[in-house]
Amino acid sequence: MKMRRWSVLSIALMMLVTMSLTACTKNENESASTGSEGQEKVNIVFWNSGFATIDENNKAKKKEDFYISQAVARYEKAHPNVKIDVQDVPSGDELFAKFQTASIAKNGPDLTVLWSGSYMLRFKQFLEPMDSYFSGEERSRIVGWSATTEDFTADGKAYGVPFGTDGTFLLAYNKKIFADAGIDPIAQRPKNFQEFVAMLEKVKTKDITPLGLFKDSFLHVPDYWIAQTVDIPGLDSLVKGTTNFSDPKLVNVMKGWRELFEKNLVIADDSVRQLFIQEQLGMTVGANADILNFSKEMGDKVGFMKIPDFSEDVKIHDGGPGGVGAAFVVTNYSEHKKETANFVKFLMSKEEQINKIKSGEARITVVNDVDVNEYVSEPLVKTMQDMANEPSTIFWPDNVYPAELTSEMMSLQSLVSSGKMTAEEFMKKIDQKRDSLLKNK
């Protein structure tokens, strides 16, 4: 009798465990159900890493006051059967790891925003091609598709939809500090790296750190210098292995990168934005959002300039890195691909792009039927939009390199800046990594 009781207990426990495990795997079909009016209810999960939902300067601002919440409310009102579940997620590496693991298990989102180019194409196997969802007309009003296509051409097979543009990455400088050092960086714009160093050295004489960079500013400065030296087709040759990173011209770029640190002209610190606003730095880097923020915080004290050319014989002069740095992506395991693509179309519509600009959360846009100047009085915005459209703005080189190559570059570049690896060794290592990637392809 006792034995039977134990057996019953054991079987009950096993059933409980089995039921729990079954429950763990039973969430896939819950995103679609039939509503009371017989219309299928659609639940779209949007992992949001692109739209603001927190204002660092105004913590009292509620979530409903941000553009994305209002856009979702408008969409849900127009489509009563659709519910958009906006879940805030971090961007960059954290998002990639989360997206990768969730996608392998096929329980990731229907929609998210990933960094464009190679970063998002790494996950191509989980992404729904967008070509069939966007007509030629719809596609033509959005610029920057090349950042989302597998061959980086404007009309290639697109795995995402341009989300927004970073504009052109610029250098912001403190006018007062530069004036005290006797420099007008616009009138006396450095023509090459040596002149740039000379300018920074003058600022240093005022006991101010001349240039503040982020830990990952390799992507903003020397990587741009490499790109402007070889041009876009040259970047493609580097990736394909027909030319080498250890080309003496490119090695010189890395030597320059080392020189900036060796002469203590630079600090690499993720708090450079705050330090610049606190006037502890002469100069720093920034995308359009940073530039406008600096302008808001510092008023007339801040000036802007493009990153100086590395040398007079570069192939692209007076440009900067930038472009469409992020893209909407729809997962191919989503049960509501069409509805999700429709939501993306809604966000990219003329009306919504205008709403986004009016909300102040977007300054420049990737749609060509909206003129930002009609809605924003800030003259700096016009400058930013004009710069973004200039052909000298080079699409982020790291978005073109294979992800593994970028990872290797980012890991090793700090050895060059700290003098633990020579520029030649660094470039040789990058060539080796590139070759091994090509070999294993």
Binding site: M3, Q100, S417, S418
Partner: protein
Amino acid sequence: MGLKQERWVGLFSLLPAFLLLAVFVGYPMFNTFFHSFTEWDGVTSTYVGWDNFKTILSNGDLPLMLRNNLIFLLSVPGILFISLTVSVLLHEEVPGWRLFRSVYYLPAILSSVVIGFLAKSMFTNKGIVNTLLENAGLGAFTTDWLNTVPTEFMILILCFYWQTLGQGTLIFLSGLSSISNELFDAAKIDGANWRQRLMYIVIPSLYPAIFYFTIVNVIYVFVGLFGLVYSITGGGPGYETTPIDYMIYIQAFRSGNMGYASALSVFLFFIVMFITWIQLKISKRLEQ
């Protein structure tokens, strides 16, 4: 109940636990072992035999990763000593023990990432450490703490110690409370001083706790420092502060080489197994 019946009851009682272990530990382990012999992107895998292991041994990264793990490993006796000292001082109720007893466990409940970001903000170029040094007229000692290898290790180990001190102290305090007061009284009557009581009563009595603490932390420095490395140094500059567990993350989630990352995991598994086996051997010999 007969012996046979009892055996069945025992087996059935353990079954749910075994089932859970098989699903949540056994399957991922088997999966990792299997994929260590493949080139795997998370969805499709191709069998490549021992290639991943050959690459680990030949690509030149292994000595650096092992060096980094060894540095962390060598830091374990330090935290053992500090925890032991603090617990003895608390047990002996030195002045201020009440306050310290109420706060010493606080760092242990913080996540590694919180501790890491806190340390990072303190040691940045313009962080509080450099600012304090400058204000104290010690500007010559300011340095780029987070871009110099020895100081980066120092910060990582400092955070590891800070985080582990509570756990160690708690373990040793509970061990100390089990030692009979009569033993201490007798030793005092016999004229044993503080050091002698520590060496001949406290440490031998705490031997199982010391052994447990050492094993747990040796394993921890191989598989648990990810959070600190991720939030403080990011494994850099270069791979200078990258231990094996952080390289697994880089390979799996930055480079997408899930097969290679699985092989590194298997490699790490055997390293930890080997070190734990050595510790068990030493422990048995000491017991004898």
